[in-house]
Amino acid sequence: MSEAITTDVVIIGAGPVGLFAVFELGLLDLKCHVVDILDRPGGQCTELYPEKPIYDIPGHPVVGAQELIDKLMEQIRPFGPTFHFAQQVEQLERLAEGGFRLVTDAGTEFFAKVVVIAAGGGSFQPKRPPVPGIEAFEATSVFYSVRKMESFAGHDVVIVGGGDSALDWTLNLQPVARRLTLVHRRDDFRGAPHSVEQMRRLVGEGAIDLVIGQVTELAGTDGTLASLTVKKSDGSTVAVAATRMLPFFGLTMKLGPIAGWGLHLHENLIPVDTEKFETSEPGIFAIGDINTYPGKLKLILSGFHEGALMAQAAKRLVDPGKRIVFQYTTSSTALQKKLGVH
C-alpha cells in the first residue's frame, strides 16, 4: 500500500455534482481528492448520454452532456483537485481522534476531515445480460472484465457484444484462447472501424468464429460453464463450446459499498437535511442524485445548489472558529485570486 493521503475533503464520485463541489469547496480554501470507479470524470453525463443536449442548465440554452463536463473540469482547474480514477471507495470509517479514513479497492488510503458522497445512482458496474441462470457461473466461468489474460489461456472463450470492449478483447484474447467465438445480435458493430476490420480479417482467416445471434441459455455443472446456446434471427439455434464467457452489455449503477458504512438509507438513497446536506453521520455529506429530502429533484441544477450549501458547512467543520465572509466571484478580489483571474 502506498503512503496514505491526508486532505481536507474526499469526494466520492466525479459526476457533475462531485465536480462542481470542488469549485464551491475551493472558493473556501478546502483541498479535494476525488475518487471514481470510472476511468474518467462525468458520471452519468459521460457514461450514459455524452452526445445528448441538456436544456435546463441555467445560462446555457443548450449544452451537450460531455461539453458540460469538459467545462466543469475547466472551471475547477484553478483549485487543483487530485483525481483517483478506476477505484472504488470501499471503506469509510470515523476516527476516534476526529476525521475519517477511507480505503479504495486499489489500496489508496485517505485521511480526510470531511467526506462528501456524490455517488449518484451508485458505482458504475458492468451490466449482467438477461440470460437466465447466469449468476451461477459468475466469477468461475463468466467474467465482466479481464484482470489477467493468462486466466483465459487454453479456454473456449466466448465474447458477447458489439462495442469496443467486446472487439478489443476479441483481438487481445484470440492469441491466448484455445478457440475464440464472438457472439453479437446483428452483423453490425458499434466499435471503432479499425477494430471491426481486424476482427473481420481474423474471421476470414478462420482464426476466430463469429456467430450472429443472441445467447439464450447456458449449460454446465457446478458453476463450470461448458457451452451456450445462441438463437439466430431465423429462430434456429446453435450450441457453442464455452468454458469462459465475457459479456459486454454496457454499465449500470449499483449502490455498492456505501450500504455498509452505517449511514441511514432510504430506498438506497441517503437522507440529508436541506441546510447542510449532511447525512446521519456528522462530517459526512451527501449531494446530487444519491441524496433524498422532501421535494428532492434529481437534477444537475439541484446538485450544484446542494454543493454550495454543503461547502459552507464543511468549511465550518474544517476551520471551526473562522468567520466565513459571504462574497461574490464578480467583485471579490480574494475569490478572483483563488480563481487565478486577478
Binding site: 450514459l48 448520454y49 445480460p129 438477461p130 440470460v131 453479437h184 445480435r185 443472441q214
Partner: protein
Amino acid sequence: MPKITFVPYRQEEIVVEAEIGATVMETAVRNGVPGIEAECGGACACATCHVWVDPAWYEKVGAPQPMEEDMLDFAWDVRATSRLSCQMKVTEALDGLVVEIPERQA
C-alpha cells in the same frame, strides 16, 4: 385519442387511450402498464422499455434509427419487430397499435 393495446408477459392485455405526441413508453408508464421499466426516462440510454411490435403494425411504426438499433443490443430476446417504446411517438395513424412486452427487460 388513439388507442394502444399493451400485452404484458403472461397477463391480460391492457387497452389505453394515448395522447398524440407522447411516446409509447410514456403512455405505458402513465397507465401503470407492467414490464416497462424505462430506467433512463426515455433518453434511449437504457433499453429497459423494449417491446415487440405486433407484426401487423411494424410497417406503420417503422424501423428503429441507428442509435436505437445500437441500444437494442442491450435488450433481451430482440426480435424482428423489436423497438424501444420511448422512441415511438403516438400519432393518429397508430390508433389500434398492439405491442407485446417481453418477460424481462435488460
